[in-house]
């Protein structure tokens, strides 16, 4: 007995709810229903019968547009300035990371004067052509004399690489576990969820540290595996929840009622409906991966100490905070801005797909 909701209450916040929802759930999207036999209840017929309207009162058939996932993302970016700013910054970050050798003013291992403050200059023959040049360090140099801007640009590569690879690992394993657990339920679900519970018992960075300890070595691959594994439970839990709620939807029952097989139901009926939260979750996991990588590097348990990464830069600068605070602060701001950009983007997408905060994150 689910009577329709107490009627005409238009969406309270028209701006937060794009026009996907008409003001009312029933009707209103079109002016005429189909053409079933024309029965009348009135005795006298008027000039205009049922569904007949004088031409000047014809209203446009205002069928709501259906929007694909991509269209929704684009739409969100158009309206949500913060999300758009995030998206632009993310794009900038990706471009800088990919084209680091072309963007960076110097080579990553080139050294200049030690701990030069931002906007200072180094004078000397740095390209070995016998000529003396003047080089401006827009962000200063670090304790080894590397140009900080250059190190940060190369550090972006490591951050991006680790973040994408990590989320890739966690996504593929976690999503598979989550879908299987949610769809089949029963003992399969129990086993997977016990694993998720167990993994959840470790604060992520501690688990990452533990995995590094077991693998017994530093390097990008180890970092990716450590963080990737540490994030599996987040994906598994979210997708399982999503699958469980979709599994209860009547259209899945309908799919089973027409005799579809499990795989077809999973991939043609369920996955398309779970895509949106997956995208949002992945967008929100990338910044976490960046933070985790920075944390591991900061602890000295991440990539090899010579690799340019933001976490290591902060760690190096830590001893010099009174003499050269910029060595720590500037890479820290870089982390913050990139993470902030991903977070605003992810948050905007979450709003666009109308996912509640408790569902994802």
């Amino acid at each position: 007995m689910t009577e329709r909701d107490a009627d005409a209450r238009p969406e309270a916040d028209a701006s937060a709810q794009p026009t996907d929802h008409p003001p009312r759930a029933d009707g209103g999207t079109e002016t005429s229903d189909g053409g079933v036999a024309d029965t009348t209840f009135g005795t006298r017929r008027g000039e205009f019968g049922v569904g007949e309207v004088p031409p000047e009162y014809e209203t446009e058939s205002t069928v709501e547009e259906h929007r694909s996932t991509l269209e929704r993302i684009v739409r969100t970016l158009r309206r949500d300035r913060l999300a758009l700013a995030g998206a632009i910054f993310v794009l900038l970050f990706v471009v800088v990371a990919v084209f680091a050798p072309y963007v960076a003013p110097h080579g990553p291992e080139e050294t200049f004067g030690l701990m030069k403050p931002p906007l200072s200059e180094s004078v000397g023959d740095f390209d070995g052509d016998g000529q003396t040049e003047t080089v401006t360090h827009y962000l200063g140099t670090d304790s080894f004399g590397h140009d900080l801007l250059t190190r940060i640009i190369y550090g972006a590569r490591v951050s991006l690489l680790v973040a994408l690879a990590t989320v890739g690992v966690a996504f593929s394993i976690g999503t598979t576990l989550g879908i299987v657990a949610g769809y089949y339920g029963g003992w399969i679900d129990s086993v997977i969820m016990r694993y998720v519970d167990f993994q959840w018992a470790f604060p992520e960075i501690i688990l990452g540290v533990g995995i590094i300890a077991v693998m017994g070595g530093l390097g990008v691959v180890n970092v990716v595996l450590a963080i990737g594994i540490a994030f599996i439970d987040d994906f598994a839990r979210i997708i399982r929840g999503e699958v469980l709620s979709i599994r209860e939807e009547e259209y899945i029952t309908a799919a089973r009622a027409v005799g579809m097989g499990d795989l077809r139901i999973m991939f043609k009926e369920m996955v398309p409906n779970a895509i949106a939260p997956l995208i949002v979750q992945a967008t929100l996991m990338i910044p976490l991966a960046i933070l985790a990588e920075a944390g591991l590097s900061f602890l000295g348990l991440g990539v090899k100490p010579t690799t340019p990464t933001w976490g290591l830069l902060i760690s190096d600068g830590r001893q010099f905070i009174s003499r050269a605070p910029w060595i720590s602060v500037i890479p820290g701001l870089a982390i913050m801005l990139v993470v902030l950009a991903f977070n605003t983007l992810g948050d905007g997408l979450r709003d666009a797909f109308d996912i509640s905060q408790s569902e994802v994150e």
């Binding site: 007995m1 689910t2 009577e3 329709r4 909701d5 107490a6 009627d7 005409a8 209450r9 238009p10 969406e11 309270a12 916040d13 028209a14 701006s15 026009t19 008409p22 003001p23 009312r24 759930a25 029933d26 009707g27 209103g28 999207t29 079109e30 002016t31 005429s32 229903d33 079933v36 024309d38 029965t39 009348t40 209840f41 009135g42 006298r44 017929r45 008027g46 000039e47 205009f48 019968g49 049922v50 569904g51 007949e52 309207v53 004088p54 009162y57 209203t59 205002t62």
Partner: protein, 424 residues
């Protein structure tokens, strides 16, 4: 039509002063594509001790109308016009004392002048409301020898939040459709009822925030007047073992019991008017029957008028004295219940009745109304039902339908009805 002041005003059937008089009420919601006219000019009156039905399908605006009557339309919706006059001389005296700056005296002569100027205005309240200055919402029509207000009304629409807080739950109260979600899961049922009593009746228990929070944490005083009253109310709505159940949380109640408790809460301060918005829609038919019987009995016991909002014609037919039929934001027909169902006049009402299956005469064909309720965004045509109406003429789309007398206390807003001369 009416150029001279109408002698017999349809809103005042029987010549008694109605308890509630709604005139020209208009509620809108701005949306992206325009403005949704959820309620486009509604007139309604309720006599003391009456059960009035407001029946319509989803999208008719009946729930928004109910919310407008209590000043609780959710943002960004807004009541943009009209008057909601609650006539209660005690209330007028109380508010005249509490809000002295908001009082305005209206005399019969003033009203006559207004009516002469604005022939479209048919009710006293509407006429009086045009005379209100900014911030004025207490209308005094006459005073006794001591100069105390004797007769008059309070316009709920113009009332400020402080006044509305006193009205809500005390003078006008409401029961909602969904009993599962209408009670607070973290407060005991007894406390939720007792709170209403404390707010509106002088039981000597503080309703300040610290006092309420203390009650929430350590529990309400079980020997207080408010709590005793809560138990009595639960008994009044026939919840067995009321004193034990008052200590329960809502999740320990079944749907029917929760709705009873909601009714107990709504009636606990003996309001003038109870608005019941689809009170039985979420309930099973056997429970619905119990609740409707109880509502009728309680109406007499508590001397309350009821506005029953529902989509179910049969519920209205069985329960109400008078019925208003609403379609797409407009009231289209009103009549005493028996008259309406014996002799429906508006084409929409006719169609609605014809499409309702009945248990009693299975041999009647049920006939659907074709088409759907229109989008209420900037409806271009005058009569909202015209596109689905089998009898519509060009003029139906062009001219606003006015109410016409179609029977004993029976009016329909249709150009093709009424006295032969007026009929299209």
């Amino acid at each position: 039509m009416a150029t001279e002041p109408p002698v017999e005003r349809p809103n005042r059937a029987g010549g008694r002063d109605p308890l509630l008089e709604v005139g020209g009420l208009q509620t809108q919601f701005p949306v992206e594509r325009g403005t949704v006219e959820a309620v486009a000019t509604a007139d309604l009156s309720i006599e003391p001790g009456e059960i009035v039905g407001l029946v319509g399908e989803s999208g008719s605006g009946k729930s928004v109308l109910a919310q407008s009557l209590m000043g609780m339309v959710e943002a960004p919706g807004e009541v943009v016009g009209g008057v909601v006059a609650l006539r209660d001389s005690d209330l007028v005296r109380e508010f005249a004392a509490a809000f002295p700056d908001a009082v305005t005296d209206v005399s019969e002569e003033d009203l006559a002048l207004v009516r002469a100027d604005e022939p479209a205005i048919t009710s006293d309240a509407e006429a009086a409301a045009t005379l209100a200055g900014p911030g004025e919402f207490v209308f005094v029509e006459s005073r006794d020898a001591d100069g105390d207000p004797e007769a008059g009304f309070v316009d709920v629409r113009r009332a400020p939040e402080a006044a509305l807080q006193r009205l809500r739950g005390g003078r006008i109260s409401m029961v909602f459709q969904d009993p599962m979600n209408s009670m607070n899961p973290t407060l005991t049922v007894g406390e939720q009822i007792a709170e209403t009593v404390r707010l509106h009746q002088d039981v000597g228990e503080s309703v300040s925030l610290p006092a309420e929070l203390k009650r929430k944490i350590v529990g309400a005083a079980k020997n207080g007047e408010a709590w005793r009253r809560a138990i009595e109310m639960l008994e009044a709505v026939e919840i067995p073992e009321a004193e034990a159940r008052a200590d329960d949380f809502p999740h320990e109640f079944s749907g029917g019991m929760r709705q009873r408790a909601m009714i107990a809460m709504a009636l606990s301060c003996e309001p003038d008017l109870l608005i019941a918005d689809e009170p039985t829609t979420a309930l099973d038919v056997t429970i619905q029957a119990q609740i409707l019987d109880e509502l009728t009995a309680l109406k007499d016991a508590f001397d309350t008028s009821i506005l029953l909002i529902t989509h179910d014609l049969a519920v209205v037919a069985e329960t109400c004295d008078r019925v208003n039929v609403m379609y797409a934001g407009e009231i289209v027909e009103r009549a005493p219940a028996d008259e309406l169902f014996a002799n429906p006049q508006h084409p929409y009402t006719q169609g609605l009745i014809a499409s309702t299956p009945r248990v009693s005469n299975p041999d009647d064909e049920i006939e659907p109304i074709q088409g759907n309720v229109p989008d209420l965004i900037d409806v271009p045509y005058a009569c909202h039902f015209a596109p689905r109406c089998p009898e519509s003429e060009r003029e139906c789309f062009e001219r606003e339908p006015d109410f016409r007398e179609v029977g004993e206390s029976h009016e329909a807003a249709c150009l093709r009805r009424g006295p032969p001369g007026d009929r299209l």
